[in-house]
Symmetry: none
Subunit: 246 residues, 2 copies
């Protein structure tokens, strides 16, 4: 049974880190100023150097300070590393891309989630889910822009049969990923060497560089709607975004 004691005492180094953190956030140590030295912290808090260093390590991990041998501990931020509600680019911009291209679904199947699908959808491996496989092309160009696999969780039987029907699946997919329902999209980019199968599907040399994008689509409640893994030929695709200050 978990202890229900209302006060769980922090280790000393965390208490010190919290005090220092509060002091930084409160402006006591401005950005670009130096924190007290380890020795001073030892004296002030009556702690050993080991404890002082553990506390400073926490501040460093939190991104508040930067420590340099011989120089000291420099304050580099005075805001807690919380996520801000200001974001780079809107979901609308992303969907604009979908609008300028066409997605041709080649396979639609019901599968037991493998490791990839499970981690993407946040479900246990082996759980039933739906996988679509298709190719995305510019609207007036037949050269492929990407090969994409879409993973969809827990399909209700009715929706599922429509998804698995190649004639209807694209409309069901557009319905699921309807702009009105979308709350946020999580994106991840990596460079990989294309596997032979997908390379030929994209008309690129085997082993050539490709951009792998993993996207997870959430509704406004944060519920996962779908996940998609795409492979884009390196020489003909790039992704741009703008980050603004919060």
């Amino acid at each position: 049974m978990e202890s229900l004691s209302p006060v769980s005492k922090s280790p000393r180094y965390r208490q010190v880190a919290d005090e220092l953190s509060a002091a930084i956030l409160g402006g006591r140590y401005p950005v670009n100023s130096l924190l007290p030295t380890e020795k001073e912290l030892c004296r002030h808090y009556a702690i050993s150097r080991h404890t002082a260093r553990e506390a400073l390590r926490l501040l460093e991990i939190a991104g508040l300070i930067s420590r340099r041998q011989g120089a000291g501990s420099l304050v580099i931020a005075d805001t807690p590393p919380d996520r801000y509600n200001q974001f780079a680019q809107s979901v609308e911009d992303l969907l604009q891309y979908g609008n300028a291209t066409r997605f041709h679904i080649e396979r639609a199947e019901s599968i037991a989630a493998d490791t990839l699908a499970a981690s993407l959808l946040g479900i246990a491996p082996g759980t039933a889910c739906v996988r679509l496989y298709g190719i995305r092309r510019p609207r007036h160009d037949r050269r492929p822009l990407a090969v994409t696999e879409v993973y969809l969780p827990e399909p209700e039987p009715a929706a599922r049969s429509a998804l698995l029907d190649l004639g209807q699946s694209i409309y069901r997919l557009l319905d699921i990923l309807d702009l009105a329902k979308l709350g946020s999209v999580e994106q991840n980019f990596t460079a990989v060497c294309a596997d032979p199968e997908r390379a030929t599907a994209l008309g690129m040399a085997p082993g050539a560089a490709a951009l792998r994008t993993v996207r997870r689509y959430f509704d406004r409640q944060g519920e996962l709607l779908a996940a998609a893994v795409s492979l884009h030929p390196g020489e003909s695709f790039s992704y741009s975004t703008v980050l603004r200050r919060a």
Copy 2:
């Protein structure tokens, strides 16, 4: 003066971490098995418990093990996950990445802008500008994370000589890209095959896939402060972002 010694000896705890890491990757300690206890590591490597714990801390940071009081050090992965997963939603987040890594400048030179520099900086080709070349590494890992070229426009003579002095250039750069001055960052991602020179600098196979990021840094007035081109090894780097509805 910069040290020219070709071999920089690792601290002991890093050597131990490297050996353990290799053993995990090599299958000597499978996933879900326990690493030797701290005491056993002390005996085996003839090190103090402090050193053993620092080594284990590195493995924990690397995501290879999970340590639980009373239970031991459990191997939770036998492949290093992305060594760095950059997760950016705001300019602050992007700079956070700079905080977790170290940028070592190897060359600093004044050049006449070539086509690339000119288009990045929005200046006429041939115009004078400054180029820095360096390697970025995680703070607790010596394997390179990226090779980067930074381009800086119209340097005033005083600032310029500081930029070209390898001992000072990093501080000038951090000053120019100071968080307080940044307004927005424009980012672009492409997958490429690494050219031989940069591939060796990154310790990757020639021709392997790499993620090329081009970033342009603007102040709040929209004035271009700097541009940077980085090449990240494909298998160990990924970039993440979240888009929210406008």
